[in-house]
Symmetry: C2
Subunit: 442 residues, 2 copies
């Protein structure tokens, strides 16, 4: 008999690795890590858990990985919808960012986003925004796993004045939190069209020296690709390849519009693509060639993007939308079946974030990022296939319990790490400031 | 001072007619009808309500109208996903329908669907399925408003043997429930490709004699349109027009693929189109030209279709999807803004079902079909624009209270008319039977 911290027994355990559903299994957790996945009789015979959780009508699955967001933008959720992209950015988002985005804004915005994500079954996100040290503080307080992108731009904002400034500020933030066990870091040049060759050269140097992966918004809109091709004959991806930025660990966010050769380049170099279906639809960016990327062997992850262009940080919704969109775009109802989408939202995301050795599936030795989803609500009944049910039927509101690194962060739908009432008060104050921001601000 | 049954005061009242949001208003209800929409001070001065409901963080809006579903198919929710349409129907759905669909199946399936729809804010649906008298019993028990389509096919099923048989069975069902105040009726030939000219002729005669509108699945797939054009040079819609089936009150369900002239025909004759975005995506049918239809002046409604091809009867999800899909299909992020989608899901649906004199907006004289949506959850915060919030952020799980004809059917998230535990037991029994149905059944 082995002593362990925790035994969770669920009606369905969906480990992702291997694919499929284990009826009525027990997951054993010790010191924050998964020890074993076994039938309850074996658990009773071999383990002495210090605590038990029984989930007789739930599915237990790996925590979902939101592979792209701008978490602090949750404070601007719904501030300006149904607008053209350019008008949305120029008249609504940028003026408010210029005026209001401070470390305090980022910290409160990330707490708001972390509250939404954790209660909705997302245990890890990849966050790209200003003031990552403020974001890091918020994720630590929330107990959430996060990958912090160090933002880089070639133009000044209140956060930094040039490429070097962004890199120095970001690397200082990383140094300050380098021992935080649930935080990791990437370099996040905003996009090929906002970062020039010289700065990309420095990014590549730092990335190699510090073993930091690179992520960037890539070929999100048709005009981004067309402008680059017209100017140089080279796609933005081909340019990043030439500059040495691509390779294993490189994360292309969106990748909606690909030039000939781009798909092969992504596949051959072991890059990942983060698919953000709701954002791409809402901003009318287009439909990413997900089925082709999958067929080509490119690792796929799912992201919500920021709440200002979604407007939910809801990976259950994103899974369903990814499957529906792939079917209608390909004209094939068998495209992107439920198991493939669930893999994108878990192990695919973990791999994109260079975390697949640690999370993304319920496998002995991995850290215990787990979520419980109530499958027994009458409004969702019946349940014929639990994996299909998770993608095509259920919603994030059915998430009842969430563990990050074995710590129970959400207990019976209540997040234990954040004072919701106090946060709601601060969100209300930010809302009052942001709602009336004049459009003519910088 | 006038005595009235009920005064509901909400943080936001969204009447749909007129468009826009009324902050902090009171809706007065008497004898099942809306009496007035006024500021609370006016309500206090002029009315003496026998009961009051205060909703300080809610939006109050018209009950949503699900303009197309096959409610009883909820018992087959998720039984076979991610399959090609033909394989799905031939190997999975039709064999089970042939073996299991009885009045008892329909009654339990409709109760399951009504429970899901009512708790999710849908107060009225348009149901097309076998045994409409069993469906009518279930809607009466649930207290839900429904339009029952009398199904017509030109081939035999256990329900009826030929066109005349379907019509007689359907009209008998209508006679049995003609005094039910929340039920109305339409004739529902399944589709132009399953009902021949002779039967359509009889349908048109009955429709005129009995003042019953006609609805049908129309041009859902590319092949349906192509096959008809190849065979006769005539689109299915043009054929129905020639047969006299179209006109005001005619409801085209899906209308994904239109031939030249079809849009003008729908607009000129005052027909309605029911847009079912999730179903059209899941079955890879295509993207209906919603923006073009709207620009042409065609009345648009929203439908979930059946739970076997969706898999949720969730009109909040459908609203969001309709907006996202219109944006990406048109390449214009300003397409189908939130207020237009909300109108489709309420007044547009009511008009499609020939019920716009009675429901679909919060207007004095209309029946009091109302829903309350909690706008105060931290996971959804902040709320800048309540209408945008309803479409782009909120979910059906935020619906707390539902009135149909002034009767409070859902109270603080609990449906008062259906015994959920007993229904769950019967759904479990149906599931056991349906799960293992052999594919070779009739």
């Amino acid at each position: 008999m082995r002593h362990v911290d925790l035994a969770i027994t669920a009606a369905f355990v969906i480990p992702v690795e291997p694919a499929g559903v284990l009826d009525g299994h027990t997951v054993l957790v010790d010191a924050g890590r998964i020890v074993a996945v076994v039938p309850p009789a074996v658990a009773a015979r071999d383990y002495l858990p210090r605590s038990r959780v029984d989930l007789p009508r739930h599915a237990l699955l790996p925590g979902l990985v939101n592979a792209h967001t701008h978490a602090a933008m949750s404070l601007m959720r719904g501030i300006a919808d149904d607008l053209h992209l350019e008008e949305w950015l120029r008249d609504q988002i940028w003026p408010r960012e210029g005026r209001f985005v401070t470390p305090e804004f980022v910290q409160d915005g990330v707490l708001l986003a972390a509250h939404e994500m954790l209660t909705g079954g997302i245990t890890c996100c990849n966050d790209m925004y200003f003031y990552p040290e403020a974001a890091a503080r918020a994720y630590q307080a929330a107990g959430m796993r996060a990958v912090l992108g160090l933002p880089v731009l070639d133009f000044p904002t209140p956060y930094a004045s040039d490429g070097d400034g962004y890199l120095q500020a970001g690397l200082a933030a990383r140094d300050a939190f380098k021992h935080a066990p649930r935080l990791t870091w990437m370099i996040a040049p905003h996009a090929p069209y906002t970062v020039g060759d010289a700065t990309f050269g420095k990014i590549v140097t730092f990335a190699r020296q510090l073993d930091l992966p690179i992520q960037t918004h890539l070929q999100e809109t048709k005009s981004e690709l067309a402008t680059a091709l017209a100017a140089s004959g080279e796609s933005p991806l081909a340019r990043l390849d030439r500059l040495g930025a691509t390779g294993p660990g490189f994360v292309a966010i969106h990748a909606v519009h690909l030039a000939p050769g781009d798909l092969d380049r992504l596949a051959a170099q072991g890059c990942s693509v983060v698919h953000c279906p709701a954002s791409n639809m809402k901003l009318a960016s287009g439909i990413a060639p997900v089925c082709e990327l999958a067929a080509g062997g490119v690792n796929l992850a799912l992201g919500t993007d920021g709440a200002a262009s979604n407007n939910r940080l809801d990976l259950f919704g994103e899974m369903r939308l990814a499957s529906l969109l792939a079917k209608v775009a390909s004209g094939d109802a068998a495209s992107l079946p439920a198991a493939d989408v669930l893999r994108m939202a878990t192990l695919g995301g973990a791999r994109a974030l260079s975390l697949d050795e640690r999370i993304g599936s319920i496998v002995a030795g991995k850290e215990a990022d787990l979520i419980a989803v109530d499958m027994g609500e009458l409004a969702d009944a019946p349940v014929y296939d639990p994996i299909s049910h998770l993608v095509h039927v259920t919603s994030r509101e059915r998430v009842t319990d969430v563990w990050v690194g074995g710590e129970r962060i959400v207990r019976e739908r209540r997040l234990t790490t954040i004072d919701g009432a106090a946060l709601a008060g601060r969100v209300g104050l930010w809302q009052q400031k942001l709602a009336h921001a004049p459009r003519t601000d910088p």
